[in-house]
Assembly symmetry: C2
Homo-oligomer: 188 residues x 2
DNA sequence: TAATATACGGACCATCAGTCCGCTATCACC
DNA sequence: GGTGATAGCGGACTGATGGTCCGTATATTA
């Protein structure tokens, strides 16, 4: 990769990140605006990232680094399953709140839905395994989807600026219900 | 209302409904296309429905008539709470599958999220009450959101054409977990 | 320093939602 | 049935946006 290309890529990522952070709706951030603010041409922007979704994905990957450790921790333990599930979802929740607009954009951009991305796939696999371990394989995939749906960015945003512990408490109730509820190995 | 306006409104609703049904992504249905297919001008379209969201809302209201009875039945009984919650969510699930693209459009259109509409408000209120009755008021609002998130159109579409009973079983597991799970009055 | 590949940038294009306004069909009243 | 007031019609037009194209500029390599 040529040095100027690398430099531009950095600049664009930094500037675009800032623009998304400042916006409340991803649609407020146009590709034109990103190019202008970064001081590059549109051609450069699209050459570097393919399309809008590519830019958002690159930003997400950059910031989401911290979540991979959350994933592997949840996957491999230690600790009770219930705590691992809760910690994972809580990490996702807080991360999405810290990166609202970006998260929103990602959930919209990926062909109109957050599903079908490798990312979602991965999260769903991990959660399915945990749920299956806790209460048996029956309906585990569905319940994993339900858990993920509960931390979707647009829902979190709709909930607004509630005290953090309220969000956490709600999440806890949900996880307890699913992981240790009826149908679970422990409850039987 | 003038007779030609009423006639046009009927035509547009019928044609637009068909176009949405035939499409797999709401974005495939442009306002231009609706106007052309209905044989009216764009001006007429926008005069009659305000904007795109208005058209979608009108279609939704027209088709969603059947759901209001599901809501009041769930609200007022009879039957065990668990069954009422399940029936309500199942009705929503099946309805959204029968009206995929329209449902998808609605979830996108309402300022980028399905929340904040009167419709969602209503459903959430009813479910919150049912959940609160079953397991106490703590976290009931959050759990109601989680239940609704589990029947979002884009999730259902992502799940694809599974056998209906698999969907139902997943929903049942979720409802059982939340309504009769830990924290619920019955379990304590 | 010359040659080549790579990247740049912004004019350009297609597509939409939504507006505007001169023209037309409807309807209430005669 | 005729007629005038007016609600409604339709399609050209606008503004914004994502994405493309290609002549020009720059980094790299020998």
């Amino acid at each position: 990769m040529r040095s100027d290309a690398a430099r531009n890529r950095e600049t664009v990522l930094a500037v675009a990140g800032r623009l998304f952070d400042e916006a409340t709706d991803p649609d407020q951030v146009s590709m034109d605006a990103v190019a202008a603010a970064a001081g590059v041409g549109k051609g450069t922007l699209f050459r570097g990232f393919g399309d809008r979704a590519g830019l958002v994905a690159a930003l997400w990957r950059q910031r989401g680094e911290e979540l991979v450790t959350a994933l592997t921790t949840a996957e491999q333990g230690p600790g009770p399953l219930r705590d691992r599930v809760l910690a994972l979802l809580y990490a996702a929740q807080q991360f999405k709140l810290r990166n609202r607009t970006l998260a929103l954009s990602l959930e919209k951009a990926g062909r109109g839905s957050p599903y079908g991305t490798d990312d979602y796939e991965r999260w769903h696999r991990v959660l399915t395994a945990l749920v299956a371990a806790a209460r048996g394989p029956a309906d585990a995939p569905h319940l994993a989807h339900a858990l993920l749906a509960a931390v979707r960015a647009d829902l979190l945003i709709h909930l607004g600026d509630r005290p953090e512990n309220e969000l956490r408490s709600g999440l806890e109730a949900l996880v307890d219900a699913i992981v240790t509820g009826p149908g679970s190995a422990r409850a039987r």
